[in-house]
Amino acid sequence: MSEVLVWNAMIGGIVFGMVYALIGCSLNVLAGVLRVINFAHGEFIIAGSFFAYALFTGLGLHPLLSLPICAVAFFVAGRGLYYLLVPRLARSDEPETSSFLLMFGVSLMLIAAMTWIFEADIRPLNFTFDPINVTLFTIENAYGEGRHGRVLIPTARIVALVINLFIIVGLTWYFYRTLPGKALRAATMNREAIQIVGINIHRLSSMAFGLATSLAGITGVLLALVIPSIDPNGGADIALIGFVVIVLGGLGHPVGALFAGIIFGFVEQFSNLMLPQAAAQMVGFIILVAVIFLKPSGLFGRSVLR
């Protein structure tokens, strides 16, 4: 195995790991505040990618400019969706499972809608930064005597990583330093108690839904930059990565999701490198099942056994 490939896997691990962390964070906001595991989260993210795609191919808008537009649009859509779907759910016998099923329905609708609008083909975002790649460093004699190997990073990945870092820092600041952020964390800890201290739980929950949707949209735009093409049917795989991350990090725990995302990013990149493709595809699922059985509370988090 060449040293260059190992470096590439490590860089890929960080870039994708941070994206996964972001997916985990947004899923966790919902899981924590609303007790909703969003089955349709993958489709929200794909919708974000298509949002950037449509603005770029339709209006020629730079993907980085579509990022804030996407964030706002998805925030508004998310709040709307909350008032449409969630309050009715609270009355059902088993809100957790019902919401999972409900979002499953939403995901089927979103897949169908996206397939209808963009057709079933995968679509590349034909956008490149200049220069396309940045040479990080050169490894002497990587491929034998006199054949040097260069460790390259696509510029798009660097840009995505930097934006991602800013968002994570911003989120941390929001969760730990601002009043609404603290309220969100408080709601995760005890949904009943925060209503006693005068917080409007519906408003807070709709904020949480908006925030999570908005983050999903942002993730989608970032993902469109770092993966070769957008697939309307790819949502389930993304949602599954999200589930792995939140289960690994502990349900409803934003910091846990950060670590778990990066861990999973590395695991994924290295299993792609070292295992046959067939086996690598199953690693995520196997981790998921193993963690739930061996350490169901994740790295942090609550007990789940009946």
């Binding site: 609708m109 169908a112 209808w116 196997i286």
Partner: protein, 321 residues
């Protein structure tokens, strides 16, 4: 007074059962004559298949409250077992189908530890296990599972035999849930669903009862898969483990009403007809409408048609199982 009401109840129960068994008898005669009368075999086959799937889903979801999002795992497992046995080992379908049921039960035993998990974790794990199985089937050596291309067993099977096998399994599944509603096990399961701790305190063996429901549910779902392979003669990992199979099963069962005997039957009959007659024309719209129906059901009619009827008109209970 109490003797009167119990006599009343006994009478109501007799009426219910006469109606129900009469209905099953009519269905057997009607469906049994389809291949002879040259009817639309595919339509009636898919009706029987989905009624059986919804009914077996009802055993685990309706009677115990679990939501297996990877329910298709059993179906897919049955499909593959039957297909491998028939096309590669070259045994008769009459041996392969019971074997496919057995395979489903074995897989369910293997997955039984998941029953310890709470609501959402159970759903996620169930979903992942189904995907793992699907990948394994797609990635296994081609001379065993046919790889991603799947298997073809058309030349070894007769469609009509598959049709009648489905009819037998359908009746067996309906008989099983009917028995469940009256049996000790069925009552234990409902008690557990409503309050596991209280049921435990009453001396019900919670783990074992749940396991029985789980195995029964898996048995019928994998039989469905096996017979589907027999009837259609071809399969591949994508369609055999398609998440839409889980989706349809859940919708059909919920539309009628989980936890009732007739609910999944009614729900399936209505929706399969609608599906075959209207949505087939528009494949993309089809899955959109499936999603929409799930969402609307969860939001507005979580108890389904029969469940809502029973809630609004309690006197219906006398007539409906």
């Amino acid at each position: 007074m109490s003797s009167l009401t119990s006599m009343d109840e006994a009478k109501a129960s007799r009426i219910r059962h006469t109606l129900w068994f009469g209905l099953i008898g009519v269905v057997v005669l009607w469906f049994g004559s389809i291949p002879i009368l040259d009817g639309n075999q595919s339509l009636y086959f898919s009706l029987m298949l989905w009624v059986t799937m919804a009914t077996s889903f009802n055993i685990i979801a309706g009677f115990t409250g679990y939501m297996p999002f990877g329910f298709v795992a059993f179906y897919g497992m049955g499909t593959y077992t039957a297909a491998i046995l028939v096309s590669i080992v070259k045994v008769s379908p009459y041996i392969a189908i019971p074997a496919s049921g057995l395979a489903g039960v074995l897989i369910a035993l293997l997955f039984a530890p998941t029953l310890r998990l709470g609501g959402i974790y159970f759903a996620i794990v169930s979903l992942s296990l189904a995907v793992i199985l699907q990948r394994i089937m797609g990635l296994a050596p081609e001379d065993i599972t046919g790889g991603s291309g799947g298997l073809n067993l058309g030349q070894h099977t007769v469609r009509e035999q598959g049709f009648y096998a489905m009819l037998i399994v359908l009746v067996a599944a309906l008989a099983t849930v009917t028995w469940l509603t009256r049996s000790r096990l069925g009552k234990a399961l409902r008690a557990i669903r409503d309050d596991a701790q209280a049921a435990d305190a009453m001396g019900i063996n919670v783990q074992r009862s749940r396991l029985y429901a789980w195995l029964l549910s898996a048995l019928f779902a994998s039989l469905c898969g096996g017979i589907q392979a027999w009837f259609t003669g071809a399969l591949d990992p994508v369609t055999a483990f398609d998440v839409l199979i889980t989706a349809k099963t859940v919708i059909y069962a919920m539309a009628g009403g989980l936890g009732t005997v007739t609910g999944p039957v009614i729900g399936t009959v209505i929706l399969v007809w609608v599906d075959e007659l209207i949505w087939r024309q528009f494949p993309v719209l089809n899955s959109f409408l499936l999603g929409l129906i799930i969402a609307l059901l969860i939001l507005f009619m979580p108890r389904g048609i029969i469940g809502t009827l029973m809630q609004k008109y309690p006197r219906c209970r006398r007539l409906i199982m």
